[in-house]
Structures are given as structure tokens and as C-alpha cells.
Subunit: 326 residues, 3 copies
């Protein structure tokens, strides 16, 4: 289970799931119980996964899921023992089913469980400013400080020796030891993921969380969205400057340095020791290697191998760029 916070309302009978999707051929599997939903990679026995694009056929071929929502045209990529459920719109259907398992993960209204810290056990344990609100299911280690007007919503674990600034909002997040989060951040909100639909887009649940590794720092006014089907991860000793945006599902390695106003679109994976100059942007679903340096203002739209220095829009080898613009 990727998220220790959202309550799983399962298991559901496969029969109920099929009827929820308005599928009639429900007799074959009716007694099976489905315990969770997950992506192709992490789904296990007795869980439901989804497979909507040939792009993922190699992973699909190895899935351990007992059931898979998919298209008829894709069925041969899946293992024999994985039971296929054919739907017209795979993403829409998995979104609907995920909402049944995790109804809390779709609605990001403000947390109505919060109380002023002065009414809570944290009052004397934490060095804290004024007007601080803390929600249910929050754990905070020793020697932490929280600034004025900050809101630690429900489902947050903060390690020891952490400093949270003022006017910052955190939810659905695990923060390891020695982390500094500066003022005016919003961390752990749902990502910008939805199914476009004329008249009314369909929001899908975000059941991932945010994890921030030890010794890291997050600059003022930054936003880090939680993941949809996996977590958003900031590695250890990774420093973000002000006004950085980290979208959902990104995994950023250790010892990275990310300057002001950088934006990283969803589901990319950055290695360790990556340095990114100010205002650079990284597209979604990319892999950036270890020891990579990306110049300020660059636009990265392709994978970058280890030990590479790139710059430009679209980004290219630094030496080539400097030659071009002499």
C-alpha cells in the first residue's frame, strides 16, 4: 500500500465492481474479493490494475495483479492468469473504481479536523508560533518548530529537528528528520491530474503522498503535489529554492539543487546530484540521470543520461550550446 493515510474502503466483491461499471458479464468472478487498486508494476495478487496503452506492454506482461481493466485490443499483452475486464475508457473506469476504494482522495476541501495547536498535546512539545492549526493523525518528532499561521492538515508525519515556516500548508506528507520548509508553501495537495471532458472535467483520485527526505530544504512559496497512483518523492539533502513547482508522481534523488522558479511536470524521475538552474522546466514522464547539470531557463523534453551538462530550449549539450551562441 503506497499510502499510509487514505483509508482503503475495500475489499469489494468483483461482482460489485463490475456492476458499478455497468458491465453485465458478472457471473464468472462473483465471489472473488478485490483488496486494492494499484498500477501495473506494484499491483499484487487479489488486486486490480489497469492497462490502457501499448507503451506499457512490457510492464503489463509481468503484472502480478489478479484483475486488469483494459481494452480488448491490448488483452494479449497481459499474463494469462490475469483476468481481463474490458471497458471503453480505461482511465475513466479505473478512476471510478479508485474513488470507491479511496473516497477521501478525490476531495481536497480544507481539513475540518484541525484544531488550534494550543488545544493539542503538541502545545508544549513543539516550539510554535501563533494561530497554528493541526489536524487528525499528525505525528511530530522532537525539537521541531512551526511558524505562525501554518496549517498541518491531517495525515502528516514530521521527523525530528524540522523547521516549518509561517503561512505554510501541509497534508498527506511524510517529512524525515532535519528538514526545513520555508514560508508560504503548499505541500501534499492533489496533483493537476484529471480526465478532460467537455462541460466538466473528471478529477481522478490522488492516492499517493509526498515524501521529503532527511536534511532537505523547500524554499518559500513552493508547491509539491502528491501523487496519483504513486508517491511524489524528494530525496535526502535536496534543496529547493523559492517558487519551485514539483508536480505529482515525480521522484527526485538525493543531493539535488533546484534553483528558483523551476517547474517539474508530472511523473519524471531525477537521479542523485542533479543541479537545475533557475526557471528551468522538465517535461513529464522523463528520466534524468545522476550528476546531471541543467542550465537556468532550459526546457528539458528528452531523457538525459548520467554525467551530462545541458542547457537551452530544448535543452542540448552545454558545449554545443555555447558554440552556437558565441
Amino acid at each position: 500500500m503506497i499510502n499510509p493515510f487514505f483509508k482503503n474502503n475495500g475489499p469489494f466483491k468483483i461482482n460489485d465492481i463490475l456492476s458499478f461499471l455497468n458491465l453485465s458479464n458478472t457471473n464468472i468472478y462473483k465471489s472473488d474479493l478485490i483488496y486494492d487498486v494499484a498500477d501495473l508494476n506494484s499491483a499484487k495478487k487479489n488486486e486490480l490494475t489497469f492497462f490502457h496503452s501499448k507503451k506499457y506492454s512490457l510492464i503489463a506482461n509481468k503484472t502480478k495483479a489478479s484483475y486488469c481493466l483494459t481494452l480488448k485490443s491490448l488483452k494479449d499483452y497481459l499474463p494469462k492468469e490475469c483476468k481481463k475486464i474490458f471497458v471503453d475508457n480505461v482511465l475513466l473506469s479505473i478512476s471510478e473504481i479508485t474513488s470507491k476504494f479511496y473516497p477521501d482522495a478525490i476531495n481536497d476541501n480544507f481539513d475540518d479536523t484541525v484544531k488550534n495547536i494550543n488545544e493539542l498535546k503538541f502545545k508544549n512539545r513543539i516550539k510554535h508560533g501563533l494561530n497554528i492549526l493541526v489536524g487528525d493523525n499528525v505525528k511530530i518528532g522532537t525539537n521541531c518548530s512551526i511558524g505562525h499561521n501554518s496549517i498541518i492538515e491531517k495525515n502528516v508525519i514530521i521527523g525530528s529537528n524540522c523547521s516549518i515556516g509561517s503561512n505554510t500548508i501541509i497534508r498527506n506528507t511524510i517529512i524525515e528528520d532535519n528538514v526545513n520548509i520555508l514560508d508560504g508553501c503548499v505541500i501534499g495537495k492533489k496533483g493537476f491530474g484529471f480526465l478532460p471532458n467537455n462541460k466538466k472535467n473528471i478529477r481522478y483520485p490522488h492516492i499517493g503522498i509526498v515524501i521529503i527526505g532527511e536534511n532537505s530544504e523547500i524554499g518559500c512559496g513552493s508547491t509539491i503535489d502528491r501523487g496519483s497512483m504513486s508517491n511524489t518523492v524528494i530525496g535526502k539533502n535536496t534543496f529547493l529554492d523559492n517558487q519551485v513547482h514539483i508536480a505529482h508522481n515525480n521522484k527526485i534523488g538525493d543531493n539535488c539543487i533546484i534553483a528558483g522558479q523551476v517547474g517539474i511536470a508530472g511523473s519524471s524521475r531525477l537521479g542523485n546530484n542533479v543541479m537545475i538552474g533557475g526557471q528551468a522546466g522538465i517535461s513529464g514522464h522523463l528520466i534524468v540521470g545522476n550528476n546531471v547539470q541543467i542550465g537556468g531557463g532550459s526546457g528539458v523534453i528528452k531523457d538525459i543520461p548520467d554525467n551530462t551538462r545541458v542547457i537551452g530550449y530544448p535543452s542540448r549539450d552545454l558545449r554545443q550550446f555555447l558554440k552556437d551562441y558565441k
Copy 2:
């Protein structure tokens, strides 16, 4: 009248307006009453408009305004029946006159009419967090929620089924039904419009408002400025990601998707079904058609026709761009 919120202090006698501008030839029109100020396009009979650049001569030719502040060199572009008032600096003069009509629109100090929601009728009607402030002349529909520390300043109308996040500030804005505004936004502030002037720039009034269409969503930390002489409009079912900036007077269509950190400079017009990748920028006074896709990080400095995909800085046809960078 474009703005239901700002009180119009008019009508003023034309005589008074002229003397306010230190113009002496005041005898001819002294008994006329001027009821409002407006741009060339929307001004009506008994209203005052302004015309400062040949660029707008086609619109000037059709204005219905009874009076127009202009330059001597431009007088022949205006209709005969429109009475010309010649000034040295048209924008400065219209700014001064607009301030007389709408003195509240120039000063964006904090709203001192707000009260804690617990002292207001909304207390029991709205699902609300803690420390929420609400100003005069605010209307909120049914089934709405407002997060902690948010400030709904005066002159805001919120429809039904809306969710406002925490730490968000809204003023001079109409929000239709089913809209989500996430945390840390500032919506409805005056735009970045002023007359540059050595020693002390001159701020002109912003008498427009912000209108957000139904089913739309505004991401965390976004800013949407209200218009100067017209409104800033976000269409229906249009989704903005985090840290987006929409400057004054922009009109954005329906079903648009605008990714993180995008910035749209003032007075541009976007069609329906426009998709904009992260960190793209759109210059001021442009027209972007329907069904346009703009790649992440692009810089748009020219109009874009319908059904076009562009990318790059400056943006160009997507296929050309991909060919260039193979």
C-alpha cells in the same frame, strides 16, 4: 457598466471634468452631464471615452461615446458627433477622470470591512474553516466550503457548490457554480497597469473585475488580476495548475487546460479548448484561437490561428520545431 461593484460617483458636468484637467475652453459644453467612462468599444451616449493611438482608429470611427479625450492629430478618425477634448497625454487624463468616477478602484489597501465569518450570517450556511474573514457586499451560494485563514474581501459573488481553499484572498470577483479555488491564491487585485513616470509612477484605476466560469479550477498560489477598463475572464470548465499568473483584461475561453507556472500578459484573448504546457508565456494584446495547443516553455509573441499546435521561443509550428531539433 462593466463592474457591478465599484460605486460610480458620476454623473459629472463636462464643465467640471474640463476644469479638473485644467482646460479653459469650457463654455461650449458646460451643461452636459457625463455618466460614465469606458473604452471606445463599449462607451455609450453621454459617456466619455479616450483615443490615444492610430492603432485603434477603426474602433474609434464607430464609437458611440458623446465625448472623447484625444490628441489633435487623431481628431479626424472620430465620428463628427463625438465631441473631442484635446489633451497632451490621453492616458494620464483618462486615468485622472476615471479616478473621479471610481475613486475606490485605485486603492487596493486591505479591506477594512471584513469580519470574522463567525459574526456573519454565513456562519451556519457555509462549511468553513477557522480564522476566515468576509467583507461587505459578498454573496455565497449553497453548498460551498471555505478553508482556513482565507479572506473573501468585499465585492465577491460566489455561486453554489464552490470550494475555496486556505490562505486564499479574493476581491472584486464573480465566481460561478462548481468552481474550485485552491490554496494561497490572490484573485481580483489591481493589475500591473500604471503610467511610468520618473520619480513616481502613476497608478491608474482598475474598474474591471474577475469572472470565473462554472466548473473551473484554479491551482495553488495562482494570481488573477482584475481588469483596468474591462474584465478579466476565465471561461467555463477551464483548469489552471499551480503558480499560474493571469494578468489584467485577459479573456480565456472554455475547456482550457493551463499547466503550472504559465503566465499570460495583459489584454490577450484565448479561445476554447486551448491547452498550454507548463511555464509557457503569452504576450499581451494577442489573439489565440480555438483548439490551440501551446507547448511547455513556449513564448507566444504573435496571434495563433484556430486548430494549431505551436512550441518554442518564439513559438512556431510544432512539426517545424521537432524537425529543427532532431
Copy 3:
């Protein structure tokens, strides 16, 4: 002394400083007192400076400092009368010594000296909103207003006729007369400066402050970091739009206009009458002349002479750019 706010814990005996650095040859200078630390340029007699790169050899040659932390290989660039202290890592050592002089400048935890404005003398002198916190050592001139939920932390001087928005945080800052700071800003936080170090980066103290000149305006959601060894300066009558980021040590001239989402990396110097279009970025340690215009979205990576118009990434002459992209 560049900063009127941070308490200088000196003087220290040179002997103590050497032993703090684990240097054993401490007999020669043991009775000397060191009163302050400063950069090569501003250090005076009886003060300690540092010199770590040949790049600064011309300035090093003229330093008035009595002592200098440096490398053996650089010793000949320094004046004879300046006493050299050889260390392996100059920046790390000066950072450690600066922390001894200014321990308050390394920790940016929330200000625990703040009180609600209603408990302070400002209560009746300032037009103020609700839930405002003000720290120790704050001075505010006449005819100012402060919006809701704002935090004026310790070490802030605000002139007369200033307007501070709501949800804004200010510390270690001097604001001159007639300045407007809009909503949701964070001003005066430590810059993004540290010594990268595997496992745990080392934060160095930021003993500079932010100075904002008269008649200036700072847009919503902007961040201005204070300097490390010098101040961050915004000139007079300079206007910043929303979501602008000004990093540490930048000096920006008078009458500048900086549009939305611009980012200026650290230690650059901009002249007067500089206009910068939206989303442009300026690299660190550059000099931008007077009367320069920088197009929206540009990436400036070289110095720009006076009276120049540039655009592009990397930025180049405007006419050339327009020719290239016809």
C-alpha cells in the same frame, strides 16, 4: 556594518578564531582583536575578509582588511600588510567564522518575539487589519496600513505612507516611504546560499538585509531574499509585478519595471530605467546597464551595456532576434 539588525557578537581574539578553525600556528597574532567580517571590498582595518578565487584578485589587491582567509596559492594577490590565514576551504571557513559573529543570521526559524498588533503601540497609529503579528525592533512611519494575517517579523523599518498587503511576511528589511507591498509576499528571508556537501549541505549565514526604495511596488506572491555578505536592494520607484523572485545580493536600480514571474539570480546589478518582460530570467553575478529593455521570456547570461534592447534565450539584440524569426 552592512546590517543594522543582526547583533555582532565580536570582537573576537584572532587567537580564538584560529583555534576555532583548528589552526595551530596561533602564537603570532594572539592579542589582536577582530571586530567584524566583511567582503574584500568593504572590510576595514581590524576586520577579517576572505579571498577564494583568482577572479577577485584586483579587488583583493586593494582590500583594507587586517586579516584574510585564503589559499596559499592566492597569497601574492593580497597586500603585504594584510595578514593571511591559510585554510583548505575558504568559503567553509568564512562561513564558520561569520556564524560566530552573527549566530542569529543562520537560523531563519519563525520569529518568536512577535505579538498581536493589538497588544502593541502600533495598534492606534497604523491602519491595520485582523490577526497581524509584529516582532521586536520594528519601526513604522506615519499613515501606513497593514493587511490581514500579515507578519512583520523583527528587524523591519517601514517608512511613511506605506501599504502592506495581507498574508505577507517581512523580516530584516528597510522599506522607504510610499512603498506598496501587495499580498502573499515573503521579503527578507535568507537567500538560497549554502555550501553543497554530500549528506548535509552547509548553510552559511546571511548577514545582509533587504532595502526597498521609496515609491516602489512589490506584486502579489513575490519573494525577495536578503543578502549574504551584502544587501539586496530595490531602487526607488521600481515596480515589480506578481510572482517575481529576487535572489540574494541583487542590486536593482531606480525606475525599473519588472513584469510577472521574472526571476533574478543572486548578486547581479541592474541599472536605472530597466524594463523586463514577463518570465525573463537573469543569471547571477551579471551587470545590466541603464535604460536596458529585456523582452519577456528572455534568458540573460551575459552583461548588457547601457541603452540596449535584448530578447531571446540566450538574449541577444532585439533587431537581430526579429530578423532571425521573420
